[in-house]
């Protein structure tokens, strides 16, 4: 007996932590109580991307899209929607359109998106291998194992033009061919799932929503390079992704899609998980391999590249999660299908984790060549509270800040490098007028200083020095000379550091000096922070004419810096004030001003 309706509930980390599991249980119970459990299937899918409005519930086949659904709403959904066929209007995303049954297609958040990597996320139940298979899963592997020679697979990858999505954009086919060219013997295929940029969660969502695509891709890669063993290096902080990967490996092994003689062919391949302890530097290839080997995660000089001498000295290919997720569909639909998507130099799509001061934060996928304006304003719904856009940071701490004048740049690896940022893994942090540029640069440098492994001096000492200068500037003690010193240090770091972490660590500083010099000068010369973020530059004063002497500010002040009689104007003692801002927040008469 077939199911008549399907209730898809988002099972990404964001929705799950927002009572998503309870919601699923309640829905099932309601269906059970109403005798519908055999007619309506509840499916826990991967991330639907619209995390801002989670938990998301989608009802198929009519394609109704509910947002911010609480467990308490389950009864109404079953009673109204399932039994009576009436949409629960208050839960619909776009309430004005409630009469016409708002499907996913009509929501602006999804309109400019194009899903290749996330093709199964939010569609299948990631814990069911059968659903992946039904969506043409393992069909690419079929084709590779029975119709293609390893060199054909590599050639196909070269034609597709796929480049590494981990950040640097190295052509994947070429990487494979280096490893394939090495003499026969033990080789390894590694998946880099050590996603560490602040604000990035593309890889986590892909693993949670479609774990089998990664397993299939690794098997294909193993066949192409001649490896029989794969490792997924994943952060231990991603428990849900780990659980689903473990389950997927178990299912694939049961089906004979991993293990000896896959599908009766003479190719054998196994995959194991290795957990990282959350060190940013372990996203770097050589440090990652050291960590898998059980050593301290520190990079080593390249060459030799891992494709020649990697894990335990054997040729090893390391691909990032998003890169791999592209591979099964490239094999299935052909390289010439894939290389029609994107720009001249950069083929395919890119997944971004949209965060920061944006209305629709969430997980999105767009074709390469989409502009930042389309991403931030059309998909992201613009800046929160109607504020002014100031900058966007791509590539996390290794990337640069992109100012408003480049909003219309079509995004690809080259264009982003030209404007002083990098593609990076896909974190996209949006800043508005309330963000202070030197303060943001300081935040990224703090991250770098914490995460630097300390092996090479340029990164270890340079990062610390840069941070000190930024602290000085934000404290209002900076000088013009500091700017020059920061430039020199940045250059030394990018040229002399051992690995990518140090080489790119100064990008936030270089790019912000390039585009937002006026803010640095304000901090240094005028001792002013226009965003009001740098506490030491703030001054709180009370306007005598507006103050009614209610004493609210004096009572809330933690250091007794405010004095004054009842019903008389109060004053702030600037020497005692710690600039916590509580008086500013508590005053009902706008008498406290901040400058």
């Amino acid at each position: 007996m077939a199911y008549k309706q399907y209730i898809l509930v988002c099972g990404g980390t964001a929705c799950e932590s927002n009572k998503g599991i309870e919601l699923i249980e309640t829905l099932k119970k309601e269906l059970e109580d109403n005798g519908l459990i055999r007619d309506v299937q509840v499916v826990r899918t991967g991330c639907l991307g619209f995390c801002e409005k989670g938990p998301i519930v989608k009802i198929l086949p009519e394609d109704t899209f509910y947002v911010e659904v609480r467990p308490e709403d389950a009864a109404e959904i079953v009673q109204e929607h399932i039994i009576k066929g009436r949409a629960v209007e208050r839960l619909l995303y776009n309430k004005e359109q409630s009469k016409t049954n708002v499907g996913i297609k009509e929501i602006d958040f999804y309109q400019k998106q194009f899903r290749v990597v996330l093709r199964n996320c939010g569609v299948i139940d990631p814990d069911k291998i059968d659903e992946y298979i039904a969506r043409d899963g393992y069909k690419g592997l079929e084709k590779v194992l029975f119709e293609m020679k390893p060199e054909d697979v590599i050639e196909e990858m070269n034609i597709s033009g796929l480049r590494g999505r981990g950040g640097a954009g190295f052509p994947t086919g070429r990487k494979w061919s280096f490893a394939a060219m090495q003499p026969k013997g033990q080789k390894y295929m590694v998946c880099n799932a050590d996603e560490g940029d602040p604000g990035a969660y593309m890889d986590r969502s892909t693993l949670e929503g479609d774990p089998h695509s990664i397993l299939e891709a690794m098997t294909i890669a193993g066949y192409a390079i001649g490896a029989d063993k794969g490792f997924v290096y994943i952060r231990a902080e991603y428990p849900l992704a780990i659980k689903r990967l473990e389950n997927a490996i178990r299912q694939a092994t049961d089906y004979g899609l991993l293990g000896d003689n896959i599908l009766g062919s003479d190719f054998s391949f196994t995959i194991e998980l290795r957990f990282g302890a959350g060190a940013f530097v372990c996203g770097e290839e050589t440090a990652l391999l050291a960590s898998i080997e059980g050593k301290r995660g520190m990079p080593t000089p390249r060459p030799p590249f891992p494709a020649v001498k990697g894990l335990w000295g054997c040729p090893t290919v390391i691909n990032n999660v998003e890169t791999l997720a592209n591979i099964p569909i490239i094999m299935l639909k052909g390289a010439n299908w894939f290389n029609k998507i994107g720009t001249e130099t950069t083929k395919g799509t890119k997944v971004f984790a949209l965060t920061g001061k944006i209305n629709n934060s969430g997980l999105i996928e767009v074709p390469m060549g989409t502009t930042l304006r389309e991403i931030i304003f059309d998909i992201g719904g613009g800046i929160k509270d109607g504020k002014e856009f100031k900058a966007a940071q791509t590539g996390g701490p290794s990337g640069g800040m992109i100012p408003p004048q480049f909003l219309d740049t079509p995004i690809d690896y080259e264009s982003l490098t030209r404007i002083g940022s990098i593609m990076g893994s896909g974190g996209l942090i949006v800043m508005d007028e309330d963000d202070c540029i030197p303060d943001i640069a300081k935040f990224y440098l703090q991250f770098i200083v914490e995460e630097s492994c300390g092996k090479c001096a340029p990164c270890r000492i340079g990062g610390r020095k840069l941070l000190n200068y930024l602290i000085k500037i934000c404290d209002g003690k900076g000088t013009a000379e500091d700017i020059q010193n920061m430039r020199d240090i940045s250059e030394a770091m990018s040229r002399a550091s051992l690995c990518g972490l140090g080489q790119t660590a100064s990008n936030p500083v270089i790019s912000s000096l390039r585009y937002f010099m006026d803010e640095y000068i304000e901090h240094i010369d005028d001792k002013k922070c226009r965003a009001g973020k740098c506490k030491k530059l703030l001054r709180y004063t009370i306007d005598e004419t507006k103050c009614v002497g209610c004493t609210a500010c004096a009572r809330v002040c933690p250091v007794d810096a405010i004095s004054g009689e009842r019903k008389q104007a109060h004053v702030i003692d600037a020497d005692k004030c710690i600039k916590c801002g509580q008086c500013f927040d508590v005053c009902k008469f706008q008498a406290v001003s901040r400058s």
């Binding site: 086949p61 394609d63 569609v123 299948i124 039904a134």
Partner: protein, 129 residues
Amino acid sequence: MAKLTLDDLRKLRETKQKAMDMRDPENKEAQIIVGMGTCGIAAGAKDTFNAIIEELDQLDITNVLVRQTGCMGLCHSEPTVEVVVEGMPTVIYGHVDAELGKKIITKHVVNKKMIDNHICDKPAMDIIR
């Protein structure tokens, strides 16, 4: 579960694909909308609805979207079923019991012939728009 051979995998995919296609809101060539207001349900719309789904399932038809809707305002003719097939005028059938539901699939959807004596109305496009 024994290890799959290439043929097993293909067979498995085929059987599972059907269920996935039913979920897919796209690639539907026809829509069948069953009126499931209180009046419809009281008149037996549930049986009609189930019969339609079962018939589609038996005939392996996956490109038809079956939806429920509220009362269409034709309470005197319940259960009512609206059928939208590409290239054919949209019609509403009245007094649709399980048997007629199945006939709608075989005759209207598959053979593209309307079941004349049960047509009760055409949706009033001027009101909807």
